[in-house]
């Protein structure tokens, strides 16, 4: 999903505070974004993340996919992924 070495280049605190080591920029992630971002760092596949979102947040797959794609696009735009 990304060419970046997220384990080394990014720090995410349990509170959702994200620091990008390479740019010095910081971001605030909501609970769902933290969940998705952690899974991406663990290199979990997109479809599996979506299934886990369904279980974790008790939502349907369409909504889970929307949330995942929205986060992914925003994170790409900001250069986090």
């Amino acid at each position: 999903m990304t060419n970046r070495n997220l384990k080394e280049e990014v720090t995410l605190t349990p509170n959702g505070f994200l620091f990008d080591h390479t740019t010095g920029l910081t971001y605030t992630l909501n609970y769902t974004s933290v969940f998705i971002f952690k899974k991406i760092v663990e290199q979990v596949e997109a479809n599996k993340i979506i299934k886990e979102l369904v279980q974790m947040f008790d939502i349907d797959e369409i909504k889970a996919r929307q949330d995942f794609e929205e986060f992914f696009e925003i994170a790409k735009t900001y250069g986090i992924l």
Binding site: E9, T11, F19, H21, T22, T23, G24, L25, G79
Partner: protein
């Protein structure tokens, strides 16, 4: 270390000099020798901080020439031994270089870039140096009159950045604006004036110490978070980016830089590439951050000055922030009296 260090650049107003942060770095290294402040004026702000400095002496301004500063340093040395002299202002470096050998004979060590290195990184020659060594740099023109300025504006396209050869830079959106700043900078800093293409992006700085053989001994990369109205860093955060590291290593290697410097980069928004804007031939005023992240560059510079061989320092940890903050120092009348009448102020014997 039990050495006495004399440091200049102690005025810390809205454009703070690096002297006090350099002294603070040495204090962090549990300094056992004296830290001696060399000031130009009785109201240089940092000289009243007795927690940082042991003694303070007034010295002649750089425009009085190298002999004046040499004589004064010798005079001070008769009162209190100086082992190492650290000039921290650009304007002091040529004088310091010219007297470095004589100071060494007198037992005072320095660790500075050579006159040639300082000239090579000067704003008027930096572009040429970068082109030669394949270092990305903004398109630059050196101008000496209004006609050349008009040509530069036509070639570089607006907006442009008009810079003084020593200090000051202004973004200009019209030729008229560029002419105004050309005149303003010329009066203050003289010719030539540097005209550069304007690049949009974030500013990143790297504080470095080179060993003079092409090796980068230690570095602290930082992204500016807040700027003063003069464009000086007021808050910043350490970062780690391999690309920035590699460019920094390349620059220090190409220059065979000796001593401290600050590399100023712009990460261009459009391309995401780092472009070298300036090389300052001295520690930056935010150098205390280096002690805060255990890459104490002033301490490394002192070790190099006394001939110690030091290993390459580890990378600074990313995510450490500095925020500059002003405090008031209160001092009795006799401090100012001592500096004004005797040209010295002794806090600790």
């Amino acid at each position: 270390m039990n050495l006495n260090i004399a440091i200049t650049g102690l005025n810390a107003t809205d454009n703070p000099a690096p002297g006090i942060p350099v002294a603070r770095c040495l204090r962090e290294a549990n300094w056992k020798g004296k830290i001696i402040g060399l000031a130009y004026d009785a109201f240089d702000t940092g000289i009243y901080d007795k927690e940082i400095l042991d003694e303070v002496y007034l010295i002649p301004y750089p425009n009085e020439g190298e002999i004046a500063i040499l004589d004064r340093l010798k005079q001070i040395s008769h009162k209190t031994k100086i082992d190492i002299f650290i000039p921290t202002l650009d304007s002091e470096l040529f004088n310091a270089n010219r007297i470095a050998n004589e100071l060494k004979n007198f037992g005072i060590h320095t660790f500075l870039p050579s006159e040639e290195q300082i000239k090579m990184r000067s704003k008027s020659l930096l572009s040429e140096f970068c082109m030669k060594h394949n270092i990305p740099v903004p398109k630059t023109q050196i101008v000496n009159d209004i006609r050349q300025l008009q040509n530069a504006v036509a070639q570089l396209k607006l907006p442009i950045v008009v810079k003084g050869v020593f200090y000051e830079a202004y973004v200009c959106h019209s030729l008229e604006e560029a002419i105004i700043y050309f005149g303003k900078i010329n009066i203050k800093w003289g010719l030539p004036i540097i005209v550069q293409e304007f690049l949009n992006g974030e500013e990143y700085d790297v504080a470095c110490v080179g060993d003079g053989f092409g090796n980068l001994v230690g570095k602290v990369p930082m992204r500016k978070l807040r700027l003063t109205d003069k464009g000086k860093a007021w808050a910043g955060i350490t970062i780690y980016d391999k690309v920035l590291d590699q460019i920094s290593e390349h620059i220090i290697s190409a220059l065979k830089w000796r001593g401290p410097c600050e590399l100023e980069f712009l990460k261009e928004q459009k391309s995401g590439k780092y472009v070298l804007i300036e090389i300052n031939p001295r520690f930056p005023s935010w150098i205390y951050l280096s002690a805060g992240v255990n890459v104490n560059l002033p301490f490394a510079n002192v070790k190099l000055a006394v001939g110690e061989k030091i290993k390459k320092m580890s990378s600074a940890k990313a995510g450490f922030t500095f925020v500059r903050h002003a405090i008031d120092l209160v001092c009795p009348m006799n401090y100012i009296e001592s500096l004004t009448i005797k040209g010295e102020l002794i806090f600790k014997k």
